[in-house]
Symmetry: C2
Subunit: 123 residues, 2 copies
Amino acid sequence: MERITTTRTSMTSPVDLLQGTLDVLVLKTLSWGPMHGYAVARWLQQVTDDVLQIEEGSLYPALHRLERRGWVESEWGVSENNRRAKYYRITAEGRRQLRAESSTWTIFSQAVSKVLTTTTASV
Amino acid sequence: MERITTTRTSMTSPVDLLQGTLDVLVLKTLSWGPMHGYAVARWLQQVTDDVLQIEEGSLYPALHRLERRGWVESEWGVSENNRRAKYYRITAEGRRQLRAESSTWTIFSQAVSKVLTTTTASV
DNA sequence: TCCGTTCCATAGAATCTCTAGGGGAGAAGA
DNA sequence: TCTTCTCCCCTAGAGATTCTATGGAACGGA
């Protein structure tokens, strides 16, 4: 299957819109229960029918960032495939953050949608 | 009226989610007709009930970027308040870009919404 | 004359995601 | 056994965007 390649100057793929939303997506994923990074990426990709494809180079720094901020905690363990894996668990503060960011995203995305779907200048 | 201030490490305001969407918002605004920068900012703020507040330090670089890419053209003129103003007009290519980015945003935002509103793990 | 508003612009900081690497270790097939 | 694939982790540096902070010009009203 072919993926959309972006030429930065002429195209925009969903990937470019990810800015600022990765954290809330990861927090939401982890709200289902502890999970290792690789599983988080797969889960997001699957739930969104391949629309969201998180690169490992984005995901792991994001997880470390969330941990630094106290929104997740990690622990080494063994995966379902018998491999060494670091499991992340969302904290209470992380759940508060998730709620806050979720509602922020809703407000924001509705505002953008409103702009993009307006068909008559309402000024 | 009080504005949300962001401490970067603990809060997220709609502003932080703007990444990647400013261009399409500006293009959409200009699709209503030629407008100067200041008016673009006011229009977006008004239509979204103050949810989207575009800083001038973001707006003008964005307009210049769009012009470099051939999506808008500019021309000096005089504003409705009798002031010197640079009017921007969307180009044919800009309208193509607008359509493309609009649909991309729709796909992306629906994917994010799907993740954030899922209440049962569908794996 | 003074001040508020309108309008434009840029430099530098801060952030984020991606690209492009590197690596270890289990599993499965040749 | 050897090779290859998949799983799983990580980081440095590049690239892009938005914000903060500033500065400036000019109109109009008090």
